[in-house]
Symmetry: C2
Subunit: 251 residues, 2 copies
Amino acid sequence: MVDEQDFLSTYDPRAYPSVAVTVDVVALTIRDGALHLLLIRRGQPPFEGHWALPGGFVRPDEDLTTGARRELAEETGLGGERLRRVHLEQLASYGDPGRDPRMRVVSIAHLAFAPDLPDPAAGTDADEAIWLPVTALASRQLAFDHGRIIDDALERARSKLEYTPLATRFLAPEFTISELRAVYETVWGQPLHAGNFHRKVISVPGFVEGTGASTERGGARGGPRARLYRAGDARLLHPALLRPAPEEPTP
Amino acid sequence: MVDEQDFLSTYDPRAYPSVAVTVDVVALTIRDGALHLLLIRRGQPPFEGHWALPGGFVRPDEDLTTGARRELAEETGLGGERLRRVHLEQLASYGDPGRDPRMRVVSIAHLAFAPDLPDPAAGTDADEAIWLPVTALASRQLAFDHGRIIDDALERARSKLEYTPLATRFLAPEFTISELRAVYETVWGQPLHAGNFHRKVISVPGFVEGTGASTERGGARGGPRARLYRAGDARLLHPALLRPAPEEPTP
DNA sequence: TGAATAGTGTCTCTGAGACAATATGAG
DNA sequence: CTCATATTGTCTCAGAGACACTATTCA
């Protein structure tokens, strides 16, 4: 430990006690109409047997986002084009002293939106990895402060759907408006009006662009064949697609 | 350096090469009708003589936000109630390898909104610290990647005014609607319609609450005395106060 | 044939913004 | 007195949401 004076005046990082920096990833996907996230079962203490976010130490030569993408690739066995289609962004950093009982660890958490992916365990190391429905989180014991990170990530994801076109990242490159609506309904946890949603999505510039094609068959329970769309080139939605307001506590 | 296998399988932070973690603060305030930010002139290499954000190493026993608040206090000489009124939130983390030429440094950047404060230099250490108008940034040489951090912070600040009541944090505890409008105009860099702004602010639940009092005198150039308001208890503005859209590139 | 779905039309209400009007107080 | 400012009123238009309707396709 350096003394206070030196500490404040020189700012020399080489004289500073070491802190470990990790990246963690809250990877979300939609399977069977439910929002899932990727969790790893820990094989060693601390929190042995608990569930944790995929993550690990940042390597000396990679930036934070690269590290997060690498961790995601390692745990999902994903690579190439499929990995590139996954949206990844920084979420926030978590560094409370004591969040890891072994030493000071600051984690840079990331948020990922992925299209439906194969089950993760195959091809990775011995860790048990699963896609868990977020509704099943309450029954799992989570390691570290990962419960809080997941809460923050879910709120960020809900919010991101409002003002960005990232909902498309949960889907295949071509999708129908109904499939897109299902993403919103799943992430927001409430049904949306099909007609109004359709008109809204079409009317926002750059959200989606038509391919000219339609689905081969109608819906499983009937209905016309739906037109197919691709993601447009907008980075932000103007105007935004706001969540229905949760009940106002009328006085 | 640990070998790859151990690296991936044990995740033992004690075996990992050290990374330094710092907190930096983009502290914004409004002086003389212009947006200013706090900068420190570096007295040592690297980037000696360049301007940098206030910041420093996270101490072993403090969490990230506490560290940021401490750094801000040290550089501004602020404490107690005045420090408590400063809004502080995490912005993002910056950890590209090579951003600090000495070693790997990951910085957790924070964003602060402060009411007009006294000049910083007094009472702090020998560093030269100033409130610089953001319009004067182009002419300054900034250390590290602090230029990018500041860009991100300014965009976040502009965005935060849209959907939170944090504009009030730039003002004294009691303020007029015109003063609040001046904050928005300064941060967004464009004039707003006085009448519409007034009605909007009053109509958003929990944004401001009247004190019943009015200013002692009218404006410097005449006009009636304005009513005084306090910040309300809303954390978010519903509906939001959106920035005027920047020119649509009409086809 | 019956039911579900895709897509469109219409109506209403809210809120944003342009513009106007009135009242107050500094210089 | 003159002008700037605070505050409120009015009008219009865009957009959100409720509801309705038609066409299409699966079972």
